[in-house]
Symmetry: C2
Subunit: 381 residues, 2 copies
């Protein structure tokens, strides 16, 4: 196992009454709040009114920043930063899914940084401090509620870049499973894929000779995700399975799946990001395409983790294990090939180019040349 | 799933070079440190000198409090509190196993409390604040390095009581697996049992209709513990298996195994504590006796978790699953019956009395009458 530091100070307030304590949690965070949300789903489910009322009861002065996109974009992030500075906000309350949380983190860090917030994403600057952030999660998937990670797309360059920084860990995140009842089946499925991807990336890529804690942990969480997603798709308003998935998605990307795993990378994400950056696909829908394709390539390269995962999870060999993953993604309604998503011909070339740019940005280009990237995509035609 | 709050702010610094950053971690914690340790094992392995040198390099003024017993006792805890107050220490550095860490937490809380520190254990007072605590772990087992829990024995009354409090969570814990190479085989085995007990207590006792995250998490960690303990017993200085077990033991009792599990209790611990309080047995050695006995009783009472655990872990039914646990405990050299530990005849009566006292203290006496307790012990004669 590699040396590591694990630090996750996010307080998780979980359950159907979670929001009851939001007011007391933000009491000491100052008067002026930047209330960040998306395109209005929270209004439809009554959450907007509830949050406004909680903020008013707590005597907060509210500055709204709405319209965060499902792959959050740099220009809107910068608008948020300008607003946060002009209005001198004391803290940020993010209410929404992973995109709203991610953009809020970028705003939280960018507000206190004199340079261009994109510097953090290109690696030209490091996040040293952040405006305090509290989140209310409405779409479990990305794990953003329990980590310091964020992904933002620069629309000018079509680059979808991500990073992880300790100062942007939320102080507290409120997880009420009843808020997720209305998530449609397709997005529920994509969320399941996303959470699974967070579990398996480290497992599949590390080069430790022995890592049973991380691997058995991952197998456990993936089992819980697959079980609970199936139950949700049968009965979308089943509290217990929504709750199970919501918590599993947080545990999938709170640092534990990767801690101590020397050499761990996120190749399936690297392959997936350009698909959503270029063709505006849901993040999870891109991952169900790239995960089995990458697994096939890696297994043929001699990666033995795929075999062990397949044995432990399904009692089958690697080839069959990959098929099991694919057929499960299909079963829940998430695509497993580029053509299903309309990405064919020259579009694939463009994806290869963009993926290679990302490989360079993430220092993964020594393994992932354009040829290798094209080869991997050839397994999900 | 039950509503819950999860908050664990302990920074884990893990690896063979972990102590290299101890000096910088304690830099901001003030000048005067209470250095707590046990009966001198840390001197034998050269750790004492190393810590003293780190503390001196960091210009700290050292107050030593040594001689913590394997089941830490109240009188020695009170001596530590007196010392911490008289010497006006700014923070506490605990170097040792779970007992040293537990006593250090009681000292950390007791130093800032005007009443009798035992009040916290009887439930007559609540821990509101604590002297900052940093730990260096030498014996992975109890998980104390990554939680706010502590267990102390009152020698005057033979009561071994425990509690969990957020303020006593260590600020940081340093986990260097090489420090555990010299732990003898019997204590390695007991440590494995202890860590397993922390995983299964919640799983076996909760009354949630559906809790796949916690259950699959537990199954994963237990698998990792069983795997790594077997490897350690074969090759005690194998870094990777020592590292795996060390990390697994932290994850076994950092809050995740219990979070959200309505009705979860710790009956195997309740049954085990009096054995070590009365007859000074190693904590793990008492648990390998009480866990299978309690499982047998619970299964016959209609508890269906034992069956599910047995199926998922070993592919067998509950009766066979209990046998599997027992034979694994035997295999690693931990006792599975009272008589093996010399507890027979009137000694059993005394254990029953003491266990019932603990059941009352922990509000578990409505289920665990003296008759029930005697019945459970009859399964491990």
């Amino acid at each position: 196992m590699n040396n590591f530091t694990f630090y996750n100070r996010v307080k998780i307030v979980f359950g159907k009454d979670a929001l009851d304590s939001l007011g007391s949690e933000i009491a000491g965070l100052g008067k002026r709040v930047l209330f960040v949300y998306g395109k209005g789903t929270i209004k439809k489910i009554g959450l907007y009114d509830r949050v406004i009322s909680i903020l008013k009861d707590a005597s907060k002065e509210i500055v709204e920043h709405s319209g965060v996109k499902p792959n959050p974009v740099l220009s809107h992030t910068k608008e948020g930063i300008t607003k946060a500075r002009q209005e001198k906000v004391d803290f940020i309350l993010a209410v929404g899914g992973g995109s709203v949380l991610d953009e809020s983190k970028a705003i939280a860090a960018g507000t206190l940084y004199s340079g261009d917030v994109w510097d953090f994403f290109t690696g030209d600057a490091e996040i040293k401090e952040s405006v305090p952030l509290v989140t209310v999660l409405t779409v479990p998937a990305t794990g953003s509620e329990m980590n310091g990670g964020m992904v933002v797309t620069n629309e000018e360059t079509d680059d979808k870049f991500g990073l992880v920084a300790e100062p942007t860990q939320p102080l507290a995140s409120f997880l009420d499973p009843t808020l997720t009842f209305s998530i449609p089946k397709d997005y529920t499925a994509y969320s399941g894929v996303d959470a699974i991807s967070h579990c398996v990336e480290g497992y599949f890529t590390h080069n430790c000779p022995y890592a049973p804690v991380q691997e058995r942990y991952v197998e456990g969480i993936v089992r819980a995700i697959m079980e609970s997603i199936e139950k949700i798709l049968e009965k979308p308003d089943d509290y217990d399975s929504r709750a199970a998935f919501m918590w599993a998605a947080s545990l999938a990307w709170n640092g534990l799946t990767m801690a101590g795993l020397e050499g761990a990378g996120v190749p399936s994400h690297m392959l997936a990001h350009p698909l959503s950056a270029l063709y505006d696909m849901a993040h999870g829908a891109t991952l169900s395409i790239t995960i089995p394709a990458w697994m096939t390539w890696a297994h043929r390269q001699g990666n033995d983790h795929i075999e062990r995962f397949s044995r432990n999870m399904f009692g089958v060999d690697a080839e069959m294990g990959i098929e099991k993953m694919k057929s499960w993604f299909r079963k829940i309604g998430s695509p497993v090939s580029l053509s299903e998503a309309g990405v064919t011909g020259q579009k694939v070339d463009r994806v290869v180019e963009k993926t290679f740019d990302l490989a360079k940005a993430w220092d993964m280009d020594s393994t992932y040349s354009k040829e290798v990237i094209r080869k991997i995509y050839s397994f999900c035609p």
